[in-house]
């Protein structure tokens, strides 16, 4: 996506401006609620503040949209901002507003244009069309970016956003989450999505903003592991519902026992990205605390892959501490996924960014915004793992004075400071900010949903990409119920590589911060790492450049303070080499365990087959030998059976016998030496 989202204090979000044009900012850094200032009046230039240090990967190289002319007019209540093609060359390019050029009056486009061309439009007339675009408008047009492209996916995304929020809220409040999801079919391709939780509830004054304003949230401005990141999700779901059905979002929330529950009905004003409250009254609710959100939307319910049903199952795997109650539509039986663990995962701590991986522009704005008076203390305050000593080293390496006022630094000096950072050794960020599910709980989660014959789980130590700590874990479940019909016929040949190949590719469960990812599998780092891993050496068939085959579910979980997704709909993890490497290592560890198991099992099967062969012939042999020698046949039969067992029960003997023998020999050698 070529779009940059920037917040401007008090005005709708502006898209497509660059750092270079930015004015110094007076607003404080993080965690400031967005609604702080009043609605922007037309034409007045707002001082904007970059948030790109948090979202640095979205740097644009586009030229600033220059406001030409003297008096920009507001275009009034036009839903689509129409711009001449010339505007594009002028560089105001963002993905959204390129409407149809009306092309009525010809005008020279750029300096490069030949002199003879007739002017189509003047800078002044063009300026009249140039206006800000609300983020809500932007996403109304680009709803696929948020995961609302098809009706089936829209339903899933709405559920997903609701569940993510519920789990995040409950965990942050230290409550064991219990989430109830209900889908009600209310017409052709029309559903009511209900997500209800036992979380802490939302304060009355915040409810409309949380659910009725895009890019409003608690999670964007801090480096802390959570499911939600941007503050888009649930509002976007509501917006989608409003767009397709015209119905408001219905929210009920209660913050504690004895308090009254608030009931809201909210509509989003997309042109201004603000909530409009339609209903607001208190109701009685039997819950002590919690939030319930109802969205009516156009969607399609279907079972199978990428369905809501499957998504919730995966949520249960990734969140063994969560209880999920699910009422599917169309009269299907309710599903209850009870907890597999009674303990909340440890609370992730919030951290500051790590100096490694900070981008130049981000550093620049950070130095301008800092409250610190000296360069040295600015580095210490704004970054994690920077002590006075480290800060001094960085500054000295850059050839600067530690006592300099940070905002006085010239661009060239910032650049040398930026170059100095990687040359100084700095500790990796504290891993406490990342909370993995944990080997044991991954296993619990898998066991809870999948009756397999073998499980293996691995949690890697924390690592860092671009200054962001992250941690990878992998788990796999093999065989058992996953094998399906092949196992039921009971033939001994239903296992082994050939049978595995018949099963088709494995199922890959991708998780990011405990959220199962459903779409864009092949664009995801987890998928690529899985394909790149050589599973053949672990006993699974694997066609070239594809997933391995077999009755297996493979889970890959990436936990990070900032999971790098390839798009806002959060479906695929970006391919950072550090992340790919960690995933591969985790997969290899799991793979080795699986390989060991498969070899052991293969050996056992082989021994069983051998035993079968010998047992078959022993009876005949006893007959013949009895006839030849008049030996007692039943006794011989017993002796032979015992022998056969000893000659086929390979593994116990193979492991124990050699050590015994070696010890015996050593003992004998010692005695001889005496």
């Amino acid at each position: 996506m070529d779009v940059r989202i920037r917040r401007s204090t008090g005005s709708p979000v502006v898209l497509g401006e660059t750092d270079a044009e930015m004015e110094p900012v007076e607003a404080p850094v993080a965690g400031v609620p967005m609604q702080a200032a009043g609605r922007g009046a037309g034409g007045r230039r707002k001082s904007t503040r970059a948030v790109s240090k948090k979202r640095g990967e979205k740097k644009t190289r586009a030229k600033p949209a220059r406001k030409r002319g003297t008096k920009p007019r507001r275009a009034g209540k036009v839903t689509t901002a129409k711009r001449a093609p010339a505007a594009r060359t002028a560089g105001a390019g963002n993905g959204s507003g390129q409407g149809k050029a009306n092309g009525a009056e010809p005008a020279p486009a750029t300096k490069r244009a030949p002199a003879k061309t007739r002017r189509r439009m003047s800078a002044e007339s063009m300026a009249g069309r140039q206006r800000e675009i609300s983020v809500s408008e932007f996403f109304t047009k680009n709803r696929h970016l948020l995961g609302f492209d098809s009706p089936a996916r829209a339903l899933l995304t709405a559920v997903k956003e609701g569940v993510d929020n519920s789990l995040d809220a409950a965990e942050e409040a230290g409550i064991l989450p219990s989430v109830r999801v209900e889908l009600v079919e209310i017409g052709d391709d029309r559903y009511r999505v209900v997500v209800e939780d036992n979380g802490p509830g939302i304060v009355k004054s915040q409810v409309p903003k949380v659910f009725g304003k895009l890019l409003y949230g608690s999670k964007f401005h801090r480096l802390r592991q959570s499911r939600g990141q941007q503050g888009i999700g649930i509002s976007a779901a509501g917006m989608y519902g409003q767009l397709t059905t015209g119905k408001p979002v219905v929210i009920t929330s209660k913050t504690g026992k004895g308090r009254s529950a608030h009931h809201f009905e909210i509509v989003i004003d997309t042109s201004r990205n603000t909530p409009e409250i339609i209903e607001d009254h208190t109701v009685k609710w039997e819950r002590d605390h919690g939030t319930r959100i109802e969205i009516e939307l156009e969607g399609t319910y279907k079972g199978g892959r990428r369905s809501v049903d499957e998504y919730l199952e995966q949520v249960a795997i990734a969140n063994p501490h969560a209880e999920i109650l699910y009422q599917p539509p169309k009269g299907r039986a309710p599903v209850h996924l009870p907890r597999a663990a009674e303990e909340l995962p440890p609370e992730p701590t919030e951290i500051k960014p790590h100096p490694y991986g900070v981008e130049l522009g981000a550093l620049q704005s950070l130095l301008k915004e800092t409250k610190a008076r000296t360069l040295s203390s600015a580095l210490q305050q704004e970054f994690s793992r920077v002590s006075a000593k480290v800060a001094e080293r960085i500054v000295r390496t850059a050839g600067l004075e530690p006592r300099r006022r940070p905002r006085d630094l010239k661009p060239a000096e910032v650049e040398s400071l930026h170059r100095a950072i990687p040359r100084v050794k700095i500790y990796a960020p504290p891993p406490s900010c990342v909370v993995p599910i944990g080997e044991h709980l991954v296993r619990c989660g898998l066991e809870r949903e999948i009756q397999a014959e073998f499980y293996a789980c691995t949690t890697r130590p924390p690592s860092v990409y671009r200054g962001n700590p992250f941690q990878v874990e992998a788990g796999l479940a093999y065989g058992g119920a996953l094998r399906g019909f092949v196992e039921e016929d009971g033939s001994p040949h239903s296992t082994g590589r050939d049978a595995d190949a018949q099963q088709g590719p494995i199922t890959l469960l991708r998780m990011a911060n405990r959220v199962p990812l459903q779409y864009q599998q092949s664009a995801c780092a987890t998928f690529n790492a899985t394909v790149d891993t050589n599973w053949r050496q672990y006993g699974l068939p694997q066609p070239k450049g594809a997933l391995p085959q077999g009755p297996m579910v493979l889970l890959v979980h990436v936990a990070s303070v900032w999971v790098p997704f390839t798009s806002e709909s959060k479906e695929a993890i970006a391919h950072y080499p550090e992340i790919l490497k960690e995933i591969r290592l985790a997969l290899k560890e799991c793979g080795r365990k699986l390989g060991g198991y498969l070899r052991r099992r293969e050996h056992q099967k082989r021994e069983e087959r051998r035993r079968g062969i010998f047992a078959m012939y022993i009876g005949e042999l006893v007959e013949s030998l009895g006839n030849l020698t008049r030996v007692d046949r039943s006794k011989l039969q017993k002796e032979l059976s015992r022998l056969a067992a000893r000659h086929t029960d390979g593994d116990a003997e193979a492991i124990v016998a050699p050590t015994r023998r070696v010890r015996g020999r050593r003992k004998a050698a010692k005695e001889e030496a005496r």
Binding site: I613, L621, S624, L625, N627, L628, T648
Partner: protein, 370 residues
């Protein structure tokens, strides 16, 4: 081939040898080891050509056949199954064919769909294995193969008590049984001066019709292709007991030569019986690669050597029992000309050319190879 010739013919009757085989297995089972039988290997690598006696003998390499080995278990069981059936035969003092034995021992293994033997090809080598293992002939275990080959000539013998005059057997001759041991066949009166073993039934009929045996005082015998054990054993006995020379008439191709060599010094597969079957003095009368020139045969009776013929000829050039100069010349000539000849090719010179001209001249002029 590091094999030394094995000591032959241990004492003791066959029944006790079979019992001893079984007791050995029981001992191994009692001792808790993997029961196994050692079977002398019937392979080219384990045969030795004894130049002095000019026979092929079995070396002392053995193969192990163990019960607790997936690849050998079945054969191990079959070995004892056959041994047990042979013991029953001996106990009942009855003889039977190896095909019969296959049916006697073939049955479904309890609780499975498998048979002890699926076809006779599986049971025949087991019998041969058993023969070498307990160092007894199948004939001694009262087993016989189906009759093959026929004989006529100036000879009277007793077959299972019946006196048979081999001069009065019409066109068919006496069918040679597979067991021709002293207890079954005894020679009574012999006026013949030689034995002529021909490869083919058709040629044998020609010679019989022409009463070749009468004119030349001969015993005429054929083996219907590769001479079976009965025919070879009988020739061996006649040569030894009646002191007659043996002439062999075969096709002029590698396969014909090989039939001669098997009669002369034994086969690789039955190397353990060479002593009792081989006739080192056997004379090869034809057809020789030099015969076309000698007898002025027209070239249209030649058959081109195909690839397998050439391959086989080259293989045989390397066998130690074909290393004599005359044989090397014979085969090199065949390879050089690239053609082979059937015995029937002689008929192009006249229907009785073989009995009236070819054979008498060859024998008279002593144009044979040894």
């Amino acid at each position: 081939m590091s094999a030394r010739p094995r000591k032959r013919r241990k004492k003791g009757d066959v029944a006790s040898k079979l019992r001893e085989l079984g007791e050995g297995a029981v001992r191994q089972i009692r001792a808790g080891s993997n029961p196994a039988v050692q079977i002398p290997a019937r392979t080219l690598a384990n045969v030795k050509y004894d130049r002095k006696r000019s026979i092929i003998e079995l070396g002392d390499q053995t193969q192990t056949r163990a019960l607790f080995n997936v690849g050998q278990a079945r054969k191990y069981m079959q070995t004892f199954l056959v041994a047990s059936a042979c013991k029953d035969l001996l106990d009942a003092a009855k003889t039977t064919s190896i095909r019969d034995l296959y049916y006697i021992t073939k049955h479904t293994i309890g609780g499975t769909k498998q048979n002890t033997f699926e076809e006779q090809e599986e049971s025949d080598p087991i019998i041969e294995d058993l023969e070498v293992t307990i160092d007894s002939l199948r004939e001694e275990m009262n087993l016989f193969a189906s009759n093959r080959g026929a004989m006529v000539g100036d000879l009277t013998l007793v077959d299972a008590g019946d006196t048979i005059d081999l001069r009065r057997l019409g066109s068919g001759g006496w069918s040679v049984p597979s067991i021709v041991e002293e207890n079954v066949i005894q020679f009574k009166r012999c006026n013949a001066k030689m034995i002529l073993l021909v490869e083919k039934d058709a040629v044998w009929r020609r010679l019989n019709e022409d009463k070749f045996w009468k004119k030349h005082k001969a015993i005429l015998i054929h083996g219907n292709g590769m001479a079976p054990r009965g025919v070879r054993r009988l020739c061996h006995r006649m040569v030894k007991e009646l002191k007659l020379p043996l002439y062999v008439l075969v096709d002029n191709d590698p396969w014909g030569f090989y039939i001669y060599s098997v009669v002369k010094q034994g086969s690789i597969n039955l190397a353990y019986e060479s002593v009792r079957m081989a006739v080192p003095e056997a004379r090869f009368v034809g057809l020789s690669s030099f015969d076309p020139k000698r007898f002025d045969l027209s070239s249209n009776v030649f058959i081109r050597l195909d690839e397998t013929d050439q391959k086989r000829a080259k293989q045989m050039l390397a066998y130690p029992w074909f290393e004599r100069k005359a044989w090397q010349r014979e085969m090199h000539k065949m390879l050089k000309e690239g053609v082979k000849l059937e015995i029937e090719a002689l008929s192009s010179k006249g229907i009785s050319f073989i009995s009236e001209e070819y054979l008498p001249r060859k024998i008279r002029e002593r144009q044979y190879l040894v």
